[in-house]
């Protein structure tokens, strides 16, 4: 950051070079030059307000209201409920809070495994694809298919494959390989967590792969060549050169994967419908159910605000620690 030239320096240089310049004649041009970036930013700013900030503010307002079916039509005038929605959602001894906590913990576990596996597979595949070999282009295209497919079409296909009686998965592991005594359930009960994880990783790793590929291409070949001359093996090269060089890429990649996975709504919704099994009850679905299925929009909004706060804190801490670590290594 500090190496880039600060804007005030530029300003001063201009004044120094033209000490007697008449500000009146130059002002319009200067103004236009200075204002141009702001003008260009303005549409994005307005859209950002309309699409993100205003709904967020409305969401926060609603979280303090008693918004049920009785006030839907005139929801702006729904009665204030103070902190009732929040106390209901954080009362972990009562069913609403208990279910939210369980859903939160499930989501944490799911995110940990999903992000970890996506990263691992994506990185391994990217490193593997660095070598040139025949068919690399085709393989790379195939790797990106899950990322390119529309989520709904892909996930509904998985839902078919995971059906107990007619699905391909049980056909293979039970009918053909005989690995289980009876065909297991994948879309209900405890296995639903595994199902969700499989689909999520399948859908998510190509993104990690794509980002890692881009990151790898920025590492100069000479370093590897020099390391090889010094006698470093493949594994040592990966550990000592590849992974440390990918650190900034990883920092962004893991954060993005974390946020996407933690908030993922489409995958569980298409796999399990409106009511996910307890083992795979991700927080996004849980909030949807609290808001749209039980028509308790106030409580749902309170849950969303708490989720937002949690994600903000985690993201903030993550950025703080990772950039600290980075400046330490840079130094």
């Amino acid at each position: 950051m500090t190496t880039t030239a600060p804007p005030p320096t530029g300003k001063r240089t201009v004044r120094k070079n033209h000490p007697g310049a008449a500000p009146r004649t130059r002002r319009p041009g200067r103004l236009r030059r200075i204002s141009l970036p702001y003008l260009l930013l303005l549409p994005a700013l307005v859209l950002e307000l309309l699409v993100h900030l205003i709904p967020m503010v409305i969401g926060i307002v609603v979280s303090f209201k008693e918004l049920t079916q009785f006030h839907l039509r005139d929801w702006g005038n729904a009665p204030w409920s103070g902190l009732d929605n929040y106390s209901l959602t954080v009362d972990f001894d009562a069913p609403v809070g208990e279910a939210l906590l369980s859903s939160f913990l499930t989501t944490c576990l799911f995110t940990f495994f999903s992000v970890g596996l996506c990263w691992l597979i994506g990185t391994a595949a990217a490193i593997f694809m660095q070598e040139t070999f025949r068919g690399r282009g085709i393989l790379r295209t195939i790797f990106l298919v899950p990322y390119a497919l529309p989520v709904y079409a892909a996930v509904i296909t998985w839902a078919f494959m995971f059906q107990r009686d007619n699905g391909l998965v049980n056909h293979v592991i039970h009918d053909q390989l005989g690995l289980t005594d009876s065909p297991p359930f994948w879309l209900i009960g405890d296995n639903a967590f595994v199902t969700l994880l499989v689909v999520s990783v399948w859908k998510g790793w190509p993104f990690a792969f794509l980002v890692m590929m881009a990151g790898l291409q920025n590492i100069p070949r000479e370093i590897y060549e020099a390391a090889a001359l010094d006698g470093a093996g493949v594994w040592q090269q990966i550990r000592r050169i590849t992974l440390p060089s990918l650190r900034p890429v990883n920092q962004v990649l893991i954060l993005v994967l974390f946020l996407w996975t933690f908030n993922d709504f489409n995958t569980p919704f298409v796999l399990f419908g409106k009511s996910a099994p307890a083992s795979a009850d991700l927080i996004s679905i849980h909030i949807y159910q609290s808001s749209f299925q039980t028509w308790n929009f106030g409580t749902g909004s309170a849950m969303s605000v708490l989720l937002l706060l949690f994600l903000l804190v985690v993201t903030g801490l993550y950025l703080l620690f990772t950039s600290r670590g980075r400046s330490a290594t840079d130094a």
């Binding site: 204002s35 303005l42 205003i54 005038n77 009511s275």
Partner: protein
Amino acid sequence: MRRIRVAAVGAVTLSLVLGAAACGGGSTNGSGSNEQPKTLTYWASNQGASLEVDKQVLQPELDKFEKQTGIKVKLEVVPWGDLLNRILTATTSGQGPDVLNIGNTWSASLQASGALLPWDAKNFEKIGGKDRFVDSALGSTGVQGQDPAAVPLYSMAYALYYNKKAFADAGVTKPPTTWDEVIATGKQLTKDGKAGLGVEGSNLSNNIHQVFVLGKQHGADFFTADGKADFTSDGAVKAVKQYVDLMADAQIVAKGNAEYSQNQSLSDFAKGKTAMVLWQTASATFAAQGMKEDEWGVVPAPVQSGAPGTGTSTNSMVAGINMAVFKNTKNIDGATKFVNFMTGDEEQKVLNKAYGSIPPVKSAQTDPAFNTPGLAVLRDTLAKSASALPQVPEESQFETVVGTAVKELFADAAAGRPVTLESVKAKLEKAQQQMPKK
């Protein structure tokens, strides 16, 4: 620079003010106007085999209406899964269609939102009066004692469908009429990878329909007379256990049914994998699955003992579709004219024939088309032994929380975990605690 900053601040302020105005939300207009008397928009629920089929059924009727009145109706067929969310969105924004279809079990919940035009005596007068409609269908148009929020359009009822060949192969000569007989017959039919009865264990609405009827048979209503949730009464617990026990205890339902939610039980039935299903107006679906009409039979849904009737002999919920007018309509006269048209004798016959449902309009029911063996059972059920689901504003929540409890119990049964009175009661208790406090 300063001017730009002023402009930016202006834009931000303007957006915030607009946002704050949006916060004001929803319109509080009384009941529509006649600003656009020549057009109407109509959201029809998906009733046929596809959205396209619905358009083909409805468009000629809409053209007929345009010829009669000069009012053009813009049709949108909305898939069932999207309909309730679309209505909720329209309600909050105030930008909805003029006329719409609603699932009749949502009547009271949507009535509470205040988005729908109340059908008071004056409005009913415009469509020929309340007496034209079958009582049971009127019973699912809103909270009792209040003006209905909608008008019945298509009626449906549950019945027991059975595969004639499977019955003959197993040597069963008489379809069951009581639950004991269902279990006994089911056990005879459950063999060689085939099951006696099919259920949709993961379909929340269907779970509710079934346990509501069983609840009635055990003297339970799931709500008290003053509208409070009452999910843990002995009758309610017995009803839920009896339903899940068809899989857990009697084992006449295949375990795989626990994850069914997309009418897979109907396709199993059509393929001969299950011998019986309890369903509402299933004939069109069977035909779509390639099953011929003489391959299946239909009898009234079972009761605990005796013959179907009211009270503890209830054997179906009142299923069906209602027609409602959005309060914000800009063509209130046209909208009521359109409802009058769609509930007229002629259109009722055309539409209900096309969809395989029963007209909720008494005079249209007399048409011989509704007197076939299949439809006569449903018609009689509606007239004599069907009850409307609880007409309380919290009906929608009830479907979600109790429907989910039943789904979880089916998952337990499928996994071989015991389903006991205690485990059922615990699940229902949890469901009840999730209901909003009122």
